[in-house]
Symmetry: C2
Subunit: 128 residues, 2 copies
């Protein structure tokens, strides 16, 4: 499978992890030491912290929410490094972000043992 | 000069460009085809668009504003590719962001002809 197809597949894996409310599944495509900046500007680090943090929000403020992710752009930065931008639509039934929200994600993908992983993820709400 | 020192210098160049209200100076450390996602989730592309867009805000909503940038973390993703996180403090005398605001920036740095350039920049306001 080429890089473009595999990275599109990873975007779908993230979406499925979120929509199942499964923090570990959401975090699976990240590298062990991945960096993650969320829509509140909080910077966290490592797959475990990303998984646990998402499980916490899936069980609380984002309980029952659904996301749709669409890969918007993808380009190579260097051998084994790709930059992706993803458009996110979140529908949350309750909590501080109840309703529908658009966000823009930058993801830096790195090739690890012949597969691709997310090394850096940064997410910003699109101002309405 | 090693990568760490040069990238710290580039962070200072960005800060100086902003504080002079000089869009071209702010944009100088970016690659020609750099990607930029701003605090409103707007995704723009290329050094020229980044420079012109910043000149527009320096002359309008951010007129007279000052930023302080501090390099928070820096790590290698691959040969010739570094990931940086920068803490930003903006003081704006007027406009929609009047007052002091913190933000978190992810920057992907690439080595070009023996120097370093910003290939991707993503900025999110830190929720208070």
């Amino acid at each position: 499978m080429n890089a473009e197809s595999r990275i599109a597949e990873i975007v779908t894996e993230l979406e499925q992890g979120w929509n199942k409310g499964d923090g570990a599944a959401f975090a699976r495509p990240f590298t062990d030491d991945a960096d993650f900046v969320n829509v509140r500007g909080l910077h966290i680090r490592s797959r475990d912290v990303i998984g646990n943090g998402h499980q916490h929000i899936f069980d609380s403020i984002y309980k029952g929410s659904r996301v749709t992710y669409a890969l918007a752009t993808l380009r190579s930065l260097a051998p084994g490094v790709m930059l992706a931008h993803v458009n996110s639509t979140l529908n949350a039934p309750s909590g501080p972000l109840a309703g529908e929200h658009q966000a823009k994600i930058s993801m830096v993908m790195v090739e690890v043992n012949g597969d691709w992983r997310i090394a850096a993820f940064h997410n910003t709400l699109v101002a309405s």
